[in-house]
């Protein structure tokens, strides 16, 4: 069964890389949707969801990734959101956690790390973890 991943980054080569890495995976099938801004991310989550994982940049041109994450959490409390950012300030880690993110990775990420984190989060059975949401 294919897993759906939303990649949010304003830097096109980064999006292309993540897409290429995920689509080259042999053991699993990933379907990648790209968004270049926070607005595009929220729109994609609304119209093309649900997703199994969101990889979210912080420095987005229209709004910061933390705000995007908070906005996402209003509509979906269980989708794993992993920040992938070049910001490595301690307070950014804290903001990432406080805004409802599940993990925080600092660029540049080795291909191996990217693969393992994507596999880890997409293999979580969301319905099992959050039974109260499983009825629908």
């Amino acid at each position: 069964m294919s897993k759906r991943v939303l990649v949010v980054d304003d830097h096109a080569p980064t999006r292309a890389l993540i897409r290429t890495v995920l689509e080259a995976e042999k053991g699993a099938t990933f379907q990648v949707v790209e968004a270049a801004t926070g607005t595009e991310c929220l729109k994609a989550a609304d119209r093309q969801g649900p997703f199994d994982l969101i990889l979210l940049d912080v420095n987005l041109p229209d709004m910061d990734g933390f705000s995007v994450c908070r906005a996402m959490r209003h509509v979906d409390t269980s989708v794993p959101i992993v920040f992938v950012t070049a910001k490595d300030d301690l307070k950014d880690y804290a903001s990432g956690r406080d805004s409802g993110g599940d993990s925080y990775l600092v660029k540049p990420i080795a291909r191996a790390s990217l693969r393992s984190i994507v596999h880890l989060f997409t293999s979580i059975d969301r319905n099992a973890a959050k039974p109260e949401l499983s009825s629908k």
Binding site: P13, L17, V21, T37, D88
Partner: protein, 558 residues
């Protein structure tokens, strides 16, 4: 009170039963220069004494209606400092009444004169002493206010009010000399003035409108009819409704810091001794004014330093981010190519192209950052050369990179200029690249060169792109500042390009500016001296733009 004479004259109230003796005493006193009020028995005695408020009371024990003792007791309750001299009969006992001095009849005119004079002098001295105590208390209150002053407004208010109250006047104001603008400026809140009146107090110390009184040369000023006083600025006197005034300069070393003004609505209000008192206040206050000025300056410098510090950490954070971002794609694609033997050749080629593009971007960013650091720290040295602008621009502009048409508008026979060719190329490349980037609809880009005044050249890069909101124009040439509109945000940029342009142009002794209209396009312009090398000799340093200024005293720049 005149203390120089041995026996001052004064006002004496005479409470005496026997009218003949009373008039004899009154005559003696009057001939010695005293004023005498004779109080007769039985008719509003106490009220008459109180109304007279004499400097001295002389009573005789023969006064019975009411008894002298009760007259003295009652009068002393209202006038506690008034001395009392009692005249007793030849055979009367001494201790009948409470008195400062006792004289026994018959009276000798010489002795009466001596006693009265002594009492009056003691009285005058006591009053002078009391006044001095009041003054000291006032000064004490003022210096106390200095130490408690919470910021300039509280301080100037205190100083103005205490100075006025000390001189029992209705108005007070502190005026400060502002060195940079060479102006005397009234400081809010003042005492007895409206804020509008205080705001009115602002005049230059040079030129026509200055006051004709030079405080540095002539010292303090006292004017009891300011309206017709040619030493003063008549419009200020009218605006502030000053009918008598004293001004004492606030002096620190050789510098005049400002002025302390005390004024009143009544003409002829001030005496020489008021001036002395205000000078004492001014001397006391000048130290506090200096401290306050230093404190404010320190606060300003501190704010600047904090701002500088904030900009620096922001710079580090942004640079760190911008350096890491391309690395992600570079590393990732390189790993893919290395680890995945099955990637088809054209995909492999595309990956490597991305790696190279990102590496180039990274190299540019490194160059930009290094250049900025070198210029900002003053380590940058220009390499001057003669440039023929027409061919130079043609060569510098990255033609064929986009679908935009680039037009050149430069008059024939344009003079050669002297500039740093590599840096000038960078300015042109940045401006033209921006023009292309922010004109997503295409269109033409014009580069126009014009000579100005035989000394300068103006170069404009004109596009028909997105345009810039008016309120964002001012910060465009600052570090990491980009136009923030939805359309601009879609286009990536570091926010360093225009800042570099500005640093380079200012390093050539020129300046940059931009005119723009939303939706119509922008014109980025810069002006350079025709010979930047020669112009540099007459300037001292490159751009100080983003550096905090060192502490400067008022007027030190003059």
């Amino acid at each position: 009170m005149i203390l120089g004479r041995p026996y001052p004259s004064g006002h004496v109230a005479l409470v005496h039963g026997g009218s003949e003796a009373a008039y004899a005493i009154a005559r003696m006193l009057r001939s010695a220069g005293h004023r005498v009020t004779v109080v007769e028995q039985g008719r509003r005695v106490i009220q008459t004494v109180l109304d007279a408020a004499p400097d001295l009371l002389i009573g005789s024990v023969g006064f019975q209606d009411p008894p002298l003792a009760s007259v003295i007791r009652t009068a002393r309750q209202a006038l506690p400092e008034m001395p009392v001299l009692v005249v007793v009969g030849r055979d009367d006992p001494d201790a009948l009444v409470e008195a400062d001095e006792i004289l026994r009849e018959p009276l000798d005119s010489g002795e009466l004169d001596l006693r009265v004079g002594g009492l009056l002098r003691a009285q005058a001295e006591r009053r002078a002493l009391q006044r001095r105590v009041d003054e000291l208390l006032g000064l004490y209150k003022i210096s106390w206010a200095f130490s408690l002053a919470a910021g300039p407004v509280a301080f100037f208010g205190h100083l103005a009010r205490q100075s006025a109250q000390l001189l029992k006047a209705r108005k007070g104001l502190v005026l400060l000399f502002e060195g940079e603008r060479r102006q005397i400026v009234g400081q809010l809140p003042g005492f007895g003035f409206t804020p509008e009146q205080v705001a009115h107090v602002r005049y230059g110390v040079d030129g026509e409108a200055r006051s004709r009184w030079n405080f540095r040369k002539n010292g303090p000023l006292i004017s009891n009819k300011p309206a017709s006083d040619s030493r003063l600025l008549s419009d200020l006197v009218t605006a502030l409704e000053l009918n008598s005034l004293i001004i004492a300069p606030l002096v620190r070393g050789p510098e005049i810091q400002g002025l302390l003004l005390v004024a009143d609505r009544i003409e002829g209000r001030f005496l020489e001794e008021d001036l002395n008192l205000l000078l004492a206040v001014a001397a006391e206050a000048s130290g506090a004014v200096e401290n306050l000025r230093l404190h404010e300056e320190l606060k300003r410098a501190n704010t600047l330093l904090q701002e500088y510090d904030r900009l620096k950490s922001e710079f580090v954070a942004v640079v760190a981010h911008d350096f890491r971002r391309p690395l992600m794609a570079i590393r990732g694609f390189a790993e893919l190519v290395l680890e995945e033997p099955d990637i088809p050749p054209d995909a492999r080629q595309e990956f490597m192209r991305t790696v190279i593009n990102e590496t180039e971007g990274l190299a540019r960013l490194a160059e930009d950052t290094l250049l900025i650091t070198r210029i900002e720290t003053g380590e940058f040295e220009h390499r001057w050369s003669e440039i023929e602008l027409g061919p130079f621009i043609l060569d510098a502009v990255p033609l064929g990179l986009s679908e935009h048409s680039v037009l050149m508008d430069i008059p024939a026979g344009f003079p050669k200029i002297v500039a740093d060719a590599d840096r000038l190329r960078q300015v042109l490349t940045n401006l033209v690249t921006n023009a292309v980037k922010y004109s997503p609809q295409g269109g033409s880009i014009t580069i126009r060169c014009r000579e100005r005044g035989g000394q300068h050249v103006v170069i404009e890069v004109i596009d028909h792109g997105l345009g810039i909101p008016a309120e964002q124009i001012d910060r465009l040439f600052r570090k990491f500042q980009r136009v923030r509109t939805e359309e601009h945000m879609r286009i990536s940029g570091t926010g360093l390009g225009l800042y570099i342009c500005r640093l380079i142009v200012e390093g050539h002794g020129g300046h940059t500016w931009v005119e723009s209209e939303i939706g119509k396009g922008s014109t980025f312009s810069f002006v350079l001296p025709l010979d930047a090398r020669a112009a540099q000799q007459t300037r001292h340093k490159p751009s100080e733009a983003e550096r905090p200024r060192p502490l400067t005293g008022p007027g030190s720049g003059n």
